[in-house]
Structure formats: C-alpha cells, structure tokens
Symmetry: D2
Subunit: 361 residues, 4 copies
C-alpha cells in the first residue's frame, strides 16, 4: 500500500509538508518497550532543518507528541500514533508552484496521477514526510535492542559529488560520524565537502552524493528466500526515500568487474562461528543475513530545487520558465543519513519479529 | 510474505530445484484475458537451460500445465495455478553439498535460518524458482496489453564483466535483442561477450554483468508517492532475482557527479503532451511514471558456482575445501534478461490495476 | 493486522479511551472526493455519548480535525489522518480497575496477552476506538456515492432483550430510524424499548439486543468467491465491533429449519434485470452480491459494566469483588447503529474499489 | 485477497471443481515440522465424498501430492504446494448449467461479476475448493501441536433441521463424534438425523443445520484487540465456508435475552489460574482468548441442489425452469465438520505465530 511499510512492525506515515501536521501510526509494536517522546525527539532532531549552516535554514522545531499506544513509559502493544505539527509555513514562497511544474520534482506526476495536488509545498514528496519514518524507527530501535542488543546501524556520507570519503566500515563509529555537520566519517573529507556545499549554494545550485550504511552484529538468518530477501526489502526501503536513484549491496555494480573466483567469499571457522574471509556478499547470501557486516550504498541525486531559471511547463500546459524560491537544502546528504538509518532499522525490526514467529525451537 | 509479490495481481511462487516441481499461483488476475499454456511456454523457453551453447547444458524442457483459473481459453478471475514438473535430477552431483557450504551461495544462510535445507540442489535459491515468475508474467503481459496496449518492456545485456555494449534505449528493439544468444543489443559486442563466457567457462570460472531495461509508452501516473514508489518496487523486484547486487534508475550512481542545474530534466510541451528534454529521472518522478521511457539497470554478480577448489566449512563446522560440480551457467546474464522483464511486467501490472481502482473519473 | 481493515481503502485506527486522543489513518482513498470535517462530524455526532437520555451521560464533544490528505475541500489521494482529542477524563473513576479485572471486559485478556494495560479506561476495547471507524466511513460514504450513487445503507435496532421491533427492510427509511432516540424503525416498539433501558439502568443492570442492516441498490458483483466473500468480510467487520456475539445473513440460523425446496430463492426476470422471488440468500450468493437487498443481523450482548457487586479476581491473582463505577451505556444498541453502518460502508467501499481494478471491460 | 487466508501462516487455495485439480500453497510455515502426504490424506478422507451412505456418492479418492516445501519428512520453511487431481468428471451432468442459473447457487453472481464462468461444475463455489483448506490445516495442526500441545479442536453436528443434539462441549470427545457417520456427539440423535437425511434425499430435497465447535486448552492471549479479534477472524473463516449463513460465539443470539447481571462471567482463581465461573464469553473477551473453552456455532443452509423443478432464468435472460441433476449431498453437515475444524486450526495457527512474534519476554 502506498503509505504503509512492514508486515509485523507496520508503519503508516501520513501528512503533507503544509497542512495540520505529519506523523505515523505504528501497528504491531511489541508491548513493554520503554519509549518516550524525548527519545524520539533526539532522532527527529538529527533530521531537522536548520540544525547546521549547510542545511536548509527553515526553522521547524518538529516537536513530536505520542498520542496513543504508550502508557506509563512503556508500549502497550496497541497502535502508537505520533504527531508533529507543521509550522513556519510561508505559502507565499510557493504561489508560483501552483501554476508551474518544478523540473525533476513530483509536481507534474502528482497532477497527472491524481488530478489534484497540494501545491503549496511538496505534498507527500516533501522530505517532511520522512519525519514519520524517523519517529517510528526510534521505537523500532528499542525493539531491536531487546532482540539483538549488540546490533549497531551506522550510516554516513560516503561521497558528495566527486569528493569521496575514505571510511572503513569495520571501524567506523557513531562518534566519527556525528563529530561533523556533514556526517561523513573521514576527517580529511569534512572541510572539502562543507566547502563544496557552501559553494554550490552560493551559486543557487545543488549537489548529490552517496550514503553508505553498515549493520554490525546483525543476527544470522534475517530475511526471506524470495521476494522479501533482506537486500530486496532494503532496496525498496532506500528507493522509497526522496531523491534516491540507486542501491547496491556488498560488491554492487563494481562486483561485475570480477570473476567468480575473485568474487566468492570463502568460508572459514572462527572459533565456533562461521565467517567469510571477504565480504563481497555484503553480509547477505540468498537474501538472508550471514552474520558478517551488512553493507550497502544509496545514491542521492542533486537537489531538484535550484535558484536559476529553468525551462518548464505550466499547469495549463504551456511552455514557460521557473526560478526556484524558498529555503532548501543545496545538498540533502547530511540530513539523509538518519533517514537511511531509520529505514534500515524498520526493515530489520520487521524481519527480526518475523524470524521470531516462524522458528519454533 | 516470503514468496508472495504484488497486491492486486498477487503471485505466490513455490518449489525447490529438486522435488515434485515448481510453479506459481496468481491470485487477482482479471477475468476474460485470453491465455494458453502455449503462450506461457514461449516465455518459459526464453529462460530455459540448454537453449544455447553459452548457458548451462542442463536439459529441462520446463513444460508448463495450467491447473486452474483458465476455462475455454480465457481467465476466470479465479486463481491461476501453473505447474512445471522437475526432471533430469542428478542428486549424485550434489552429495558433497549435503556436507559443505558452497561459498557465496545460500547454503549456509538457509541452514542458519531454518535448521533444515533441501541440500540436493539450491532449494528456493535456485534460478529454477524464477520459472513461476516468468509464467505469471506471461499472464500479466496479456493484462497489460488490454490496459496499456502500446507499452513495451525490453531488457538486454548491457555489459558482461568489462565488455560494455553500446545501446540506445530509445531505439532498441526486441529483434535486436533476440537476434543473438547473449541477448545484448549491440551487434559489435555479441562476439566478444560470447567469447568471454566461453573462455571463463573453459577455466571453470564465471562472470557477471549488468542488464538494462526500458519501458516504452508506460502510462503516466503509475506508482505511489511513498513506500510503493514505482522505482522502489522495481528495486525490490530486481533485488529479489538471484545473484543481483545493485539497482539504479535513470542517472543512477553516475548522476551524483552532476550538479542540480546539470541534472534536472526541463519540461516542455510536445503538442499537448508534457515531455522532458532529458531523462535523468528515468521516467519516474516522485515515484510516479511521467510518460518518458522508464529506464533502469541491474547488476548481477559472477555466478557463485565455479569449478576450482575453494576454502569453505562443513555443516559440522570444520574448515574444509570444496570444488564445484554439476552443470551451471558460467554467466547468468543471457537467461536473466527474461527474468528482469518478467519482474518489470509483474510490477507494472499490479500498479496499473491499482491505478484503475483509485481513479474514479 | 490488529488495527488495520481493508485492502484498497485501508484504515488504521489508533487510540485508547484515555490518552492524547483517538483517530484513524485512511490509506488508499481515491482523490477528488469532496469531504470536510463538518461532514465527518455529523456522523461522529450520531455515535457520540450524551446525545440522548438513554445513553451514557459522558460529555465528549468528539470534535474531529483532518490533519492531512484533504486540500481545498477535496481528497488528495494521499493518507487522510483524522484526530479526535480525548476529554472529560475522570481517572479517579477507574482506580479500582487498576487492581481488579472487570468481569466480561477485556481487562484480564489484555493483561494476559501484553503484560501491560492502560488501566484507566478500556484501552482499545473501549467503544471510543470506534470513532476512527465512523470518521473513516464518512469518507468512504462519499467514495461510494460516486461509484454507486443509488446505494443506501441503513441499520436499526431490531430488538432489545425480548422486545422485538416489526420492521420491513424493504420499506425502512432513514427518517424512521432517526425519528427516535433508540434508533428502531417500529414506532410501537420505541417507548417499550426506552422504558426497558431506563428500567435496567435504574437497577444498575444492562441489556443487549440485535441490530439489523439492509443495503439497498448495491451493485451486482461485489465480494470475492472464497475467503473474502462479501458475507465473510461483513461477519469479520461486525464481530470486530465491541460487545458483538453473533452475525447472520439472509435466512441465518432460522434458515436451518427449512428444506432446500423451501429455502431456495427462485430467479425470475423483471424487465431486463435478474431478480429473486424471495431473498433468503440475503442478497449474497457464493459470497457475491446479486443485486437484491443485502440483509444481515448482529447480536450485541448486554453491556458488561453493571453497578452491582460482582465476583472477580485481582491483578495480583486473588479472589475479590468489584462494583461497577463510571458513566456507561446501560444498552449500547442505539449508539451501535451508526457503527454497524460504518463497518458496512468500509467493507463495501473496499470491495467496490477492488471490483473496479479487476474488471477491464 | 480473494483466495488468500492468514498473515503469517498464509494459505492460497486454487482450483475449480472441474479442471486440472485443486490445491493450496502454504507460505510462511515454520521449518522442521514433521509432515507427510499420508497424514494429510487422513484429514482429506474425512471430507471426501462417498465416505458413507448419507453423503454424495461421487467417487473421488482425492489423493494428495506434496509438490514442494517438505524434504526428508520435514517442512523446509519454504512454500508447501499440495495438489489433488480432479477425477470422475461427468460434464454431461452439467450441460444444462451452462444455459441456466441454478437457484441459490453462485452461477448468476459469478457471471454477473466476471462475465465468464466455469459452467461445468460449481467453479470455486464448489465444496471441492475446501480440499486445499483441509490439506493446509493438516499442516497447521502439526505446527500448533508444537506451540500448544494440549490444545484440542473438536467440531460436531449440533442440529440438522429441527433435530437438535444434546452435547456437552466440556466432555465431548473425538471418539464420540467419529463413532457415527453423521458426526454428531449425541448417540440418541444419530439415527433420527440419518433417517432425516435419507428421507429428504429420497424426496430429492435437502436439509441444513448447525455445526458447533469447541477449542479446549487454547493458550491465553490469542487474537488481537480490534479488527483481528479472534472471534472476528473466526467469523470470517466460518462464513467463507460454502453454504454458511450465520456465526455466533459463546452466548450468541440467545445471549441478548439476558441482562448484564445474568450474562457476565465472574472471575475466580483456580489454584494459580484465572478462570470464569460461567462461559457466556465463549472463551474470548475483547477479541482475545481467556483460557476457557472457545465455543462457537455455525449455521449451514439446506443444500441448494435439489431434484425438483424450480423456477429460474437462463443465461440469455429469459424465464425458464430447471431440475437439479448430478450427485450431491442432501445434507452437507457431516462433511462440513472437518472443514469447520480446518478453518479453526488455520485461524489459531496464524494467531499463535503472531503472538510469538510480538511477545519478547
């Protein structure tokens, strides 16, 4: 369904960028999980606009309220509804959007699909929709902490345009990533990346890049053999994030340059644990986690909103021109990092619950 | 669910590589669609082993039987069950697999997940599972032909290892692709690709590559805004195919090297139709088709089964070595082409039906 | 899933009787449906406490807010979130419920299932949960009005305890039902029913009864042949309403007293329309609507909350006694009528959309 | 979806009464469950035609074949496909059905819905569709035996037309039920019931009745609070069985004749177990099992196929007459008993797996 993700830990996000608010309903969360609005807020603050001087200066506090499903600090097992009110609306910034389709946005396709569009903002295509995902993931994280306490999920900016970070996924830490506003984990790449973002913003232009993600200490056996392969659902999860254009796991597209003899991951025993000597599988074999680090990469296109004049068409179907306005991210990557983590958390939480259901011994 | 794909046109595949057979149940197919076992057989023959001298020489006729849901040559609207019996089983080829995990296969993860494995063959991880998908897609194709008669779905081999074909997605035809056993669409690349496959096979080695796919004349408005974005579901669909490691749509990973000003697709009017001057969006904006060619690429790793000695571990958890046996594809790409097409058909058919349901005017 | 109903027009209700509020998210509503908070409010007011002197005197205005999915008075095609804040909480009325299980309520089973319970109120088992259903149905009604403008859904109180109304489903009107606070459609039964409710309330006791529902001018062909038979989903929908104990369609349990020759509904032509001479099928044959009036009945048990001393056990698992407190309905039937209608609307809307998807001609 | 039941233990039945066969795919069965075709056959034989001289004399051995998902006598965790070939087809018996709608059958509604019908038999509306359910339930039973080894599910014929059996659900045993061909559990009712069936059959007429079912030693906590209440899903499951017209749980429709003070089930402690002194709740409170016997009743209408001349209409929409032919059950009740049990097993298995997933402690 359009706005529903997950089977057992199922979330339904709702809300447009402009309107009463945005939020999520979590249906299927186990009971007795300790959670508070404050904990959720910590994660929301990581994706919030205005958090540093390289992201959009929009001021939205994005304060969440838990409306149901939590009592005396613990989940009830019933649906958890979380609401974040919309604020700081400047519809005047958007009036031109009422009549013209912004290139490489979803304005035209929404109109073509539905014949009706919340034109004063990006509607559901807005990054604001991801608030519900991050809030739900804050809860899912607590569920996973009970099931797989050693599991750690870390995403970071691997590249912005042609600036590539040099990061070892086996040693990367949350501290390394959060130590800088661009959320990369290579100290040498931080300043060049920040400078690039500031430069393109000054030009009214934008840039994209790649986010990489590692899941350490994932349980063996998550994921299902056919359509719900762990990497297939991660691919869906990542491509559901606005502005994404690609997903690769383990050796990815580069892996096609190797022969099988070079590419295969030999097994060996490390004490009583089955390990692989290399990890071109990216921690997933046959769609199921094998206990090695789960590794994948997600491509984000350059932000579609730019300040230069662009050729486009009007809603009355005439050629015209449009110049971007409003306050936007010249590069979404720093704020995309917590969203990539959130979708990974949601995917793994759903699969971990499924695994509990079917393994009887 | 593990073996179910689609919401309205929902398929459930079943079957192991060895056992009574493989097949599919299609639940939700519209009535009055003309279909026959012969038509389905045509598509199955395109993915069949033994069809040329660069694919596995296994001889399996893969003859399908329609067990239900079709009467007097037309669908009834009730579930369509399709069965393909397994044949040509040589369990002796597999006895070593009972005790040792093949590197970069799903043997270990199946055992770790389920504690029980159909060891004489690849189980559900076998390419044989895809028979059900191709059979279901043969039916879905007939449904789509009624809803969107001009739509055409074409996939081809874009690269094998470092041999890259030069193909224009706007002019590629089915004839170009089917004119050669490697299923590429660049006449100059055919012989080098065939030679490469024969060479690595002679060495007991394997290669991978990239399949590209274009959907021409897709209706505008397919796909949903959030989790069921058209590209998100295509990503899941593609990563659910065995041996895939990556998916990119439109500009993909390369697109991250451009600025927004370079990357955006300007709109213009072509008579009364909204078009884009470039197509870095890959025909999808905000998760919804915009009427341009839908374009995406899928990475396939080199086949995991190779004939050289490899380090591995036994099911009793001791270090050991394993040498591949049996008859396998040294390169899955030629046979992957119809499977990529099939998953694309299934995705679009489900979304086209959904669009019919919700647009009331 | 626990709190989700419907496939294409899918609703997720959330909220406990006490807490931030209750509400619903509708995922899959067609775009361009005119709807307003005021229209939804009309339906909510029909199920509201305090609307007459035979229902609970709790004062809750139950004012709804549309948070998303509606723009310029029309649905967007995106999720519609509706919120009703909780008010008038008197947790002091419930303190005893913290430590003792109310007989024939869900207190014990919630504790047994989840190990954690929102004890100051009925949690999700509260009739308050049905607010989300009624709000969603107000939207679904507008969708159905576009698809099947002549369809009319009417429920009424058929009996309260041993007082049985004499109502002809073929001639019953909305005006007849809404003309009296008990919502029956037999003028002669109104006063006896009201008196009975007042009498049992005065005794601190309670009564149940039967609600009957007719769907007039339903399209032919709704419902699916096997598990999603129209009557099967109606049965689930009705039994999901708190306090229900039974469902029967057409001839129901009484029909078992007839022979086949007496029970069968002969077909005949009425101009160019296929009709049945009798309607023991209740408008549904083989799970699919046949164009006759859809007719079913739902049994509601006497309200579990009574004011007399009852034997029960404490949460610390000791025998004890409990006397009901708080403000409750001595008879839920009058307020159940709009809820039965709401669940019928939701069922038919989902099926009508499904039928649109699969019939291509 | 039309032919799919369950979320975690999900079955998809397929097949028409005439055609290649009927069957089921089980998706989501836990691994390592011991099962064989022979065990499944035992349950299939209980619903088979021709098993006694009061059921249809059609001779169908209904021999099942497990096509996938079972290896070395144990489930693999992958989809289990089960096939039963159709035999003993006498299409000549059905030629009149091609042109005339049988009263109170699904012939007309199938045509009206789909515009195409498998006229030589009842299509999906045939009792033959239930073969897949019974086969799947044979597997589910083995799953439940691991999770809740003491649970016992027993159904029996409670009444046929006006002959009512006197059965105590607390003491009824499988032996009592299987000791007689009518499958009631009241020795005094057996002969009258058999005689009634033989009498109406001799007249070319038919009768219906009520099946009652008890689940003993069900785990506490099964079922979900809102739409997936245990009794709501049981209601759907039962109304999905052909020829059913009603469902009631616990006190059911009769319970509306009591006051709350008479109806409530007082709690008391029996050693360390919470019990209820009466069981008008039918073992379910707030949609969740409370550990008492789960008790419900299902109404089956008299068989629609009768041998007398009936008024009907032709497919060309003209008034006509039809006389039943073929070999049919004059009373479906004895064969309905195992189907009621099967749907109960499938419901409880799905819910028991769900409970495993969400309770983490």
């Amino acid at each position: 369904m359009p706005s529903t993700f997950g089977n057992l830990f199922r979330i339904s996000t709702w809300g447009e960028s402009h309107g009463g608010g945005v939020g999520v309903v979590i249906d299927g969360c186990p009971p007795n999980i300790e959670i508070s609005a404050e904990e959720i807020q910590i994660d929301l603050d990581r994706r919030r606009p205005g958090q540093s001087d390289i992201v959009t200066p929009r001021k939205e506090s994005d304060t969440c309220e838990i409306l149901s499903g939590v009592f005396e600090g613990k989940t009830l097992g019933t649906p958890i509804a979380i609401l974040v009110r919309n604020k700081d609306q400047r519809p005047s910034s958007y009036t031109e959007m009422k009549d013209k389709y912004r290139p490489s946005h979803a304005d035209y396709t929404y109109d073509a699909k539905y014949g009706h569009r919340a034109w004063h903002g990006g509607g559901r295509a807005s990054a604001r929709e991801t608030i519900g995902r991050v809030a739900a993931a804050a809860v899912a994280k607590k569920v996973l902490a009970k099931i797989a306490p050693d599991m750690e999920i870390l995403a970071w900016v691997d590249s912005i345009k042609d600036i590539k970070a040099d990061v070892n996924p086996n040693t990367v830490t949350s501290e390394m990533i959060e130590s800088n506003i661009v959320r990369t984990a290579d100290a040498d790449a931080v300043e060049p990346m920040i400078q690039l973002i500031k430069d393109v913003r000054a030009e009214g232009n934008s840039v994209g890049g790649v986010v990489e993600c590692v899941v350490k200490n994932a349980p063996v056996g998550l994921g299902d053999p056919v359509f719900d392969k762990l990497d297939a659902i991660l691919a869906q999860a990542m491509l559901s994030i606005p502005a994404t254009k690609g997903f690769e796991v383990g050796s990815g597209f580069e892996g096609t340059q190797l022969t099988g003899a070079e590419h295969n991951d030999p097994f060996f025993m490390e004490e009583d644990r089955v390990r692989t000597a290399s990890n071109r599988s990216g921690g997933i074999q046959g769609g199921i986690s094998n206990g090695e680090n789960i590794l994948f990469r997600v491509a984000f296109k350059p932000t579609a909103t730019i300040m230069s004049e662009q050729q486009t068409v009007s809603t009355s179907k005439e050629d015209t021109e449009l110049k971007g306005r409003g306050r936007h991210d010249a590069c979404v990557l720093p704020r995309a990092v917590p969203i990539v983590e959130a979708m990974t958390v949601l995917t793994l939480c759903d699969m971990a619950l499924h695994q509990r259901a079917i393994i009887l011994d």
